[in-house]
Symmetry: C2
Subunit: 311 residues, 2 copies
């Protein structure tokens, strides 16, 4: 994570920390919001993508990048590849939010759509990579350089916080959560690290409790960043060993958290990004002292955001 | 303005400056966004209200504060009064956005509603003050301490900017614009100061051009912060002498600017707050070099915001 921080310095934003008196009152704690919605491409995913691409060798660079993602990782890889002057091909589900698909194309990546009901995105991506000898597949979470890059957000938050008693991060495939846990346990061994999932996509919570990898299949949660089928080969053991607890929140709680952040902090946060705040507002997590929350992204379609804040 | 800065230090936020590559490209300039949507009460108005209330004497403090406002000044006075331990009574139009009315009540102020079609808000406020000997009326813009407080946002922006070639500020009653102009012309005499109004509420632009005070009556602009009838006795001569130009933008341009800020900067900015960005996106202002834009506030009803970003 420390090496990743050096690699992304000057390329990724060092995002601000925002505070909200209203949130402190509701949570009964001092809450520090790490605003990855203000990160480049609108989400933390740029950190891991840029870090992983920085480490590629000449042959891989020449062959280009292949990635699969429902949205934010796609944008992160597309922009990071462009900044490195590399070709990027992104396998995206036909169900991805239009804002994320359009932005990915806007960064110059080639998009290969697939139907998530009938095809496996990783197989589609690896098939493309096989046709381009040397092409590097940058997966959305299960890769050491991606995990290390994602951990830099927590690193920055802890350094600026003056100490944290707990850290909340959303959990999809576990890249952000495990990277955050690595950074946190290194710097603040006593700080509790808590992952937050939608009830409808609770595979990681069930995996954490049962210590056996559990899966979900296209869960219909509004938090599209957490629709990943399961934790990965790397992220599952990291979550098991470094994360202190996992909690889940309802769809209603996620929507209420996005609306709260709109009304009280004037920030646009996507549903996946609001999971930590949802856990605080519902009391799923009752912290004391100072708690960090990673707002993981802000990429939400206008129509979805309108339905949330206009309701 | 410098004295006001000392008075509000530690009470008002020193708000951040945000950048957007997409906006730089569209504007053809380096654009610095001063984020008063992240100010306390969600708008710059807290600065002037806090500064003015700080200067009251014991008799005025004992009698309490009376103010009139369509929204953000109401919230600013309500919170500043509460922080000083003073009673506040706010005269608000029945047409004020619900978010602004509810927040004002939430800060503990007593709200006196009036119908803007049949009553004059200033007369209502002065009537209340007459019944409470010593009560201070804190007007929304036409007051030296209010103007000085509002100027602190531009002061901070200029200090952190490393120099500006132009500064854009929205104009309702001219408190923010004239305070910004005072600060700017003191620190950067060559920096152009430009006020931005909705076409539908262009009284200040017409006043500026004709050098005679012009008025509007309840203009139906979505930018509710600029529905003031005219510049004031203090702000009109300040605008005439210190502001370099005034421009107007259409309702469509204001809506497009709010949507742009939502999509590309992940910030919630109210229609009045987006006037400067609207002027850049439409080409009403074509700056070169480095331009500062004051995003004056973020207090917008969920239903209004939904109509803008969901459309």
């Amino acid at each position: 994570v420390l090496a990743a921080r050096e690699r992304i310095a000057g390329h990724a934003h060092r995002t601000p920390i925002h505070r909200s008196r209203a949130l402190d009152e509701r949570a009964g704690a001092e809450v520090l919001l790490k605003c990855e919605n203000f990160q480049r491409v609108g989400a933390f995913k740029f950190r891991g993508a840029y870090n992983a691409i920085s480490k590629l060798g000449p042959a891989e660079r020449a062959a280009g990048i292949v990635a699969f993602s429902s949205g934010n990782h796609a944008q992160g890889v597309a922009l990071a590849a462009r900044l490195h002057g590399l070709r990027a091909t992104i396998v995206m589900p036909t169900t991805a939010p239009a804002a994320k698909r359009d932005a990915t194309a806007g960064y110059g990546a080639e998009i290969v759509p697939y139907d998530p009901r009938s095809a496996d995105r990783e197989e589609v991506a690896r098939g493309i990579a096989r046709e381009r000898p040397g092409a590097a597949v940058i997966p959305p979470y299960d890769h050491p350089d991606v995990i290390a890059g994602q951990g830099t957000a927590a690193l920055e938050l802890i350094e600026e916080s003056g100490g944290l008693d707990a850290l909340l991060a959303p959990c999809g495939g576990g890249g952000l959560l495990s990277g955050s846990a690595i950074a946190t346990k290194h710097l603040l061994p006593r700080c509790r690290v808590i992952g937050v999932e939608p009830e409808l996509a609770d595979d990681a919570t069930r995996s954490f409790r049962s210590k056996t990898l559990q899966t979900v299949h296209n869960p219909p949660t509004i938090a599209d960043g957490t629709r990943t089928p399961s934790l990965g080969k790397l992220t599952f053991p990291l979550v098991l060993s470094l994360v202190d607890d996992m909690v889940t929140v309802s769809e209603e709680a996620i929507i209420a958290a996005v609306r709260f952040l709109f009304e009280r902090t004037k920030m646009v946060v996507e549903p996946s990004g609001a999971l930590g705040v949802a856990a605080l507002l519902t009391g799923a997590v009752r912290p004391s002292g100072r708690v960090g929350v990673i707002l993981s992204g802000g990429n939400v379609d206008g129509s979805t955001f309108a339905a949330i804040v206009g309701g």
